[in-house]
């Protein structure tokens, strides 16, 4: 049975719809990432699960119990906030004990659990300090610890790493992933950072304008983005998208250059997408005039154009290409994504069908 079930959950403010009918089942031990640009409704969805926003319509089950209209305190959840929200007037120990105290956990047992959580997070030496004496990373650990000691059915994390610097973010990301596997609880994690989503999630829920765009495992959404938005949002650097036409087994980009079309593509107007890392240098292919070369260490990113259209190409390290040069690129037809130019939905291709059957 699903640990958390969202059933056609909606949120409206007056006539404005913030979240449109989200349905999602989250299993025990599963880490779900809600991903999307700011204002897409991901935080609102999380806050509805937490009970910090009322649910306009729909049903929310946690642990099989209908909690749709319960107070946050009665939902068996714990939450980590973006700004940590540690109680500034309490010591770290008191911060972590507070939730247990409010739930009437015996003081001795509470102290034991706080010690254990602090141990796990490596913050034992901070227990008697006040939040303002801590660094951002330490506060983040404490916030995690405060959620941890409560041992809830589901952990809710609202952009927990966005206030940390890049290096620390990566480290904390790994720690959260390890921690989650270790405690084996359901977790809902909100972020706008697709790298975080890709690395952490068991499944990613991509949202935009209050609507779920696609739900899938990280590589699933990477390999088979359901629409143009997902295609552009997942992956870094982002996917190259072109207005194009399919004719005679070729994808004819507006502007003249051609790429091989995937098997089973029907003739007609399309939006063609190809990831920068799927493109490779060839002798004859799409002529790319290189405007800039970004050296990333092990990889080299070419930023250039095909006629009017911009194109990025990610190669293994190349020291010999200079800005101003023209190179020819092409891609494996199976790596080319086709979308309907009007609905922007994915057009099925032969490779999709093949993958689907192997998965089943």
């Amino acid at each position: 049975m699903a640990e958390v079930s969202l059933r056609t959950i909606r949120k409206t403010y007056g006539s404005v719809t913030a979240v449109e009918e989200v349905s999602l089942d989250i299993a025990r031990g599963e880490l779900i990432v809600l991903l999307g640009p700011s204002g897409c409704g991901k935080s609102t969805t999380l806050r509805m699960v937490a009970g910090l926003e009322t649910i306009t319509s729909g049903t929310l089950l946690i642990g099989g119990r209908d909690v749709t209209s319960l107070e946050p305190k009665d939902r068996d959840i714990a939450m980590v906030f973006q700004n940590y929200a540690l109680y500034p007037h309490k010591t770290i120990r008191a911060n972590m004990t507070f939730g247990l105290k409010m739930r009437g956990v015996e003081p001795a047992l509470a102290a034991e659990r706080v010690e254990a959580a602090a141990e796990m997070l490596g913050i034992t030496h901070l227990l008697d300090r006040k939040p303002r004496q801590l660094s951002g990373g330490q506060m983040q650990r404490v916030a995690l610890g405060r959620a941890l000691v409560r041992d809830p059915a589901v952990f809710l994390l609202d952009e927990p790493l966005s206030n940390l610097d890049a290096k620390l973010r990566v480290r904390m990301r790994e720690e959260i992933a390890l921690l989650q596997k270790r405690i084996g609880k359901a977790m809902i994690y909100v972020t706008h950072d697709q790298t975080e989503a890709m690395t952490l999630a068991d499944r990613i829920v991509i949202m935009r304008d209050g609507r779920v765009q696609q739900i899938g495992a990280p590589l699933e959404v990477y390999d088979r983005p359901q629409n143009v938005f997902v295609a552009g949002f997942i992956g870094s650097p982002e996917m190259n998208l072109f207005q194009a036409e399919i004719a005679g087994g070729l994808v004819r980009l507006d502007g003249g250059a051609t790429l091989p079309a995937p098997d089973g593509a029907r003739d007609g107007r399309v939006v063609a997408g190809v990831r920068p890392e799927a493109l490779e240098l060839v002798d004859r292919g799409v002529p790319l005039s290189v405007r800039a070369v970004e050296q990333l260490g092990s990889q080299t990113l070419l930023v250039g154009g095909v006629g009017e259209m911009g194109m990025r190409v990610m190669l293994g390290r190349r020291d010999d290409i200079r800005a101003g040069a023209t190179v020819h690129v092409s891609a494996d037809p199976a790596a080319i994504h086709l979308f309907d130019p009007v609905t922007e939905e994915r057009l099925p291709s032969a490779s999709d069908a093949g993958d689907r059957s192997t998965r089943a």
Partner: protein
């Protein structure tokens, strides 16, 4: 100010700053000193040749003030009015300020702006219509009417100040508390209020101060001797034929006493509260 710039400051500049600070302190403190010393000086000396330091001290004014006048009664009246004003101000302004910062209320900007607007009216402008209204309902010449009129000054101040204070407090703190197992009220009592102590103390002191030292409203509202507050009582000592400076100074000293005590005890919070308001305001 960084320590670097302090380090580079010339001795002359430092001296100038200390001198200015001393001058300001003297300017502020001397009248207080003079008030206290005058209340302890024999009449003879005060009227003929007041020296900086009294040669002889006497408590005669205090005796006469406390034994022969209505001063004790007036002091009690002032205390009752001020404490009632503070209590009501605290309860109401905390509720209003919290409401306008945390709830979706239609026209909440208007509520706060209206409060501030009301605060801009000079007391006298409010006092006369208020008096008419009190007379209408039979409340004229009561301490209650005085409390209500003082609220017209203290409530806008309290709401305005606490509004800034609550606004600066991240809502996530209460949300965290609610997730941790508090009700909304519980989150307010256990998290918001303890964090608001500096603001609450500041508002309480200001409310007390405004009520305790008010003369205008008391003059309009209160007619009978029995209900006079201290500022009114002191003013009535300045009679047409005699001017008992000693008694007045003793009375003034006693007025200042509770304020002084409050400041000393609460100055730590008070300064915090003022700066918090200043940053946010």
């Amino acid at each position: 100010m960084t320590t670097g710039s302090t380090g580079r400051r010339s001795p002359f500049a430092s001296a100038a700053i200390y001198l200015a600070a001393a001058a300001i302190a003297l300017y502020s403190a001397f009248p207080i000193y003079w008030m206290i010393s005058s209340s302890l000086r024999p009449t003879q000396e005060m009227l003929t040749a007041p020296s900086l330091v009294p040669s002889r001290l006497t408590l005669q004014y205090y005796y006469s003030l406390l034994a022969q006048t209505d001063y004790p009664q007036q002091f009690l009246n002032s205390l009752v009015v001020a404490l009632a004003t503070v209590a009501i101000t605290m309860v109401l302004s905390v509720m209003i300020a919290y409401g306008v910062t945390r709830q979706r209320i239609r026209g909440k900007k208007a509520i706060v702006a209206g409060m501030l607007y009301a605060y801009m009216f000079p007391p006298l402008l409010l006092a006369i219509p208020l008096y008419t209204m009190f007379a209408l309902v039979g409340l004229n010449d009561t301490l209650l009417s005085l409390v209500i009129s003082h609220l017209t000054m203290t409530m806008p101040l309290g709401v305005w100040f606490l509004w800034g204070f609550f606004k600066a407090m991240p809502f996530e703190l209460e949300e965290a508390a609610m997730v941790d197992g508090c009700t909304r009220l519980g989150a307010f009592l256990r998290v918001v209020l303890p964090l608001s102590v500096p603001g609450l103390v500041t508002v309480a002191i200001f409310a007390f101060l405004l009520s305790w030292t008010d003369y205008t409203f008391a003059l309009v509202m209160i007619g009978s001797d029995a209900n006079k507050t201290v500022p009114l009582g002191l003013a009535s000592m300045i009679g047409a034929f005699d001017l008992r400076w000693g008694d007045i100074m003793a009375g003034s000293t006693l007025i200042a006493l509770p304020l002084f005590a409050a400041f000393v005890m609460l100055s730590r919070y008070f300064v915090q509260g003022l700066t918090a308001g200043a940053v946010k305001g």
